[in-house]
C-alpha cells in the first residue's frame, strides 16, 4: 500500500473526473432523448446513452479495485461526528449507484427486447427475457435511482464547496491537484 497519505493518486483523480463527466453526459442525453419522438436521432442518442452507461459501470469496477489498494486520504480534522457519517454515507451511496444505475438500465434494455451492443460492436448478454411489464417497472426504477443520484451529487458538490469556501480546509484541492503523489511517498 503506497500512498496512505493526504492525497489521491493520479489514477484516482482520473477515474473520479472521467466518471463525473460521463455521468453528466449520459444523464443529459437520457433526459433529452426520452421525450423525443421516435426517430433516427433518438435511436442514436439511446445507443450513446447506453454505451456511456456501460463505460461508467466499468470505471466503477476499476475505481473499487484501485481504491482497495490505494485507500482514499482521511477526512480533514475538525469535522463533527454527524458530518463524518454524512460524508462517508454519501460517498458509499454514490458508489452503490455507480453500479445500480447502469445495471437497471441494462436490465431495462433486456426486458424491452433491445440488447445492449457496446459501441455498436460487442453485444452484452441479456440479463432477463423480454417482458413488457418488467421493462416498464425497471424504467421507473432506473428513473428513480437517477433522481437519487442527482440529489446525492448535488449534496456532494455542495459539501465540496462548503469545505472550500467556509471551512477552507483544501480538500477540494486534493481532488484537483495533479500531484506525483506516489513518488512523493517513495521519496
Amino acid at each position: 500500500m503506497e500512498n496512505v497519505g493526504t492525497t489521491y493518486t493520479r489514477t484516482a483523480l482520473a477515474l473520479h473526473w472521467a466518471s463525473a463527466l460521463l455521468i453528466f453526459a449520459s444523464f443529459a442525453i437520457g433526459l433529452y432523448a426520452v421525450d423525443l419522438k421516435l426517430s433516427p436521432i433518438k435511436l442514436k442518442l439511446y445507443s450513446y446513452h447506453k454505451w456511456i452507461g456501460v463505460t461508467v459501470f466499468a470505471l466503477a469496477v476499476a475505481r473499487l479495485l484501485w481504491r482497495w489498494r490505494h485507500p482514499a486520504p482521511p477526512l480533514p480534522g475538525g469535522m463533527a461526528r454527524w458530518e463524518q457519517i454524512t460524508a462517508h454515507g454519501t460517498h458509499a451511496a454514490i458508489y452503490v449507484l455507480l453500479f445500480a444505475v447502469p445495471i437497471t438500465g441494462w436490465l431495462m434494455s433486456s426486458a424491452a427486447g433491445v440488447p445492449v451492443v457496446y459501441l455498436g460492436i460487442w453485444q452484452l448478454p441479456d440479463l432477463v427475457a423480454k417482458d413488457k411489464a418488467l421493462a416498464d417497472a425497471l424504467k421507473t426504477v432506473h428513473y428513480a435511482l437517477n433522481k437519487t443520484l442527482l440529489a446525492l451529487v448535488v449534496l456532494h458538490v455542495a459539501a465540496a464547496l462548503k469545505h472550500q469556501f467556509v471551512d477552507r480546509d483544501d480538500i477540494l484541492g486534493r481532488m484537483l491537484t495533479w500531484r506525483r503523489a506516489n513518488r512523493t511517498m517513495e521519496e
Binding site: S39, P40, L43, K44, S47, G113, V114, Q123, K130
Partner: protein, 181 residues
C-alpha cells in the same frame, strides 16, 4: 425502430390446401438499429399452402400479411411502423407473397421462388424452406433476408441505413394439418 416483414408461402397443387394452424404459425423479423438486433412479428396473416411431396414443382403457396398487426415490442414503434414512412398501412395494408416455382434441390430442402409485394413494390425472392412432419401436422419453416429500401420501407429520415440497417431477416413457420400429401 423496426418493421416490415411479412411473407408468404404456398405450396402444393392439385389437392386443396389444408387449414393453417394460426396458433402455431409465426411470421416474424429481425432488424438492426445501431447494430442492435431487435425482433418483432405479425399477429395476423393468412397462408394458403398446397404442398405436394411427390411432385414438389406442383406445390403452391400464397401468403398475405396484415401489416397493421405488427408487434415490435413497443406501441410507439408499432404506430411508427404503420405510418407513411414505413408500411403506410392505410394505403397498402397487406404484404403478399405468391410462389412462382418450387424446387427440391436436396431431399431435405425446398426452394420456393416467388413474388413478394410490399407497399406497392414487387420483387422476386427465393426462399429456402424445410418441411417437417410432426404428429398430425406439417411444418414449413425458413428465413430469408430482404432489403427494406427495395420496398420503400423506411423513407424520409429513416432512409439512412446507418441507423436502421437495410437488411431485414424474415423468419417464418407455417403449420398445417398433415393430410399426407
Amino acid at each position: 425502430m423496426k418493421f416490415w416483414g411479412w411473407l408468404c408461402v404456398t405450396l402444393l397443387a392439385t389437392s386443396a390446401s389444408a387449414a393453417t394452424d394460426t396458433s402455431q404459425s409465426h411470421i416474424g423479423f429481425v432488424f438492426k438499429q445501431m447494430n442492435v438486433p431487435v425482433a418483432g412479428h405479425f399477429k395476423r396473416f393468412t397462408a394458403d399452402v398446397r404442398f405436394d411431396a411427390r411432385r414438389p414443382e406442383a406445390s403452391r403457396a400464397a401468403i398475405a400479411v396484415d401489416l397493421a398487426s405488427i408487434n415490435t415490442g413497443t406501441r410507439e414503434a408499432d404506430e411508427e411502423a404503420q405510418g407513411p414512412d414505413w408500411f403506410d398501412t392505410r394505403r397498402t395494408p397487406t404484404a403478399k407473397f405468391v410462389s412462382t416455382a418450387v424446387r427440391r434441390p436436396t431431399p431435405d430442402r425446398y426452394e420456393v421462388a416467388g413474388e413478394l409485394s410490399i407497399k406497392g413494390r414487387t420483387r422476386t425472392v427465393t426462399i429456402p424452406i424445410q418441411v417437417e412432419r410432426k404428429a398430425s401436422t406439417i411444418h414449413y419453416t425458413g428465413s430469408f433476408t430482404l432489403k427494406r429500401l427495395d420496398y420503400a420501407i423506411g423513407e424520409g429520415i429513416w432512409a439512412d441505413t446507418a441507423t436502421v440497417a437495410d437488411e431485414v431477416e424474415v423468419r417464418f413457420r407455417i403449420v398445417q394439418a398433415d393430410r399426407g400429401t
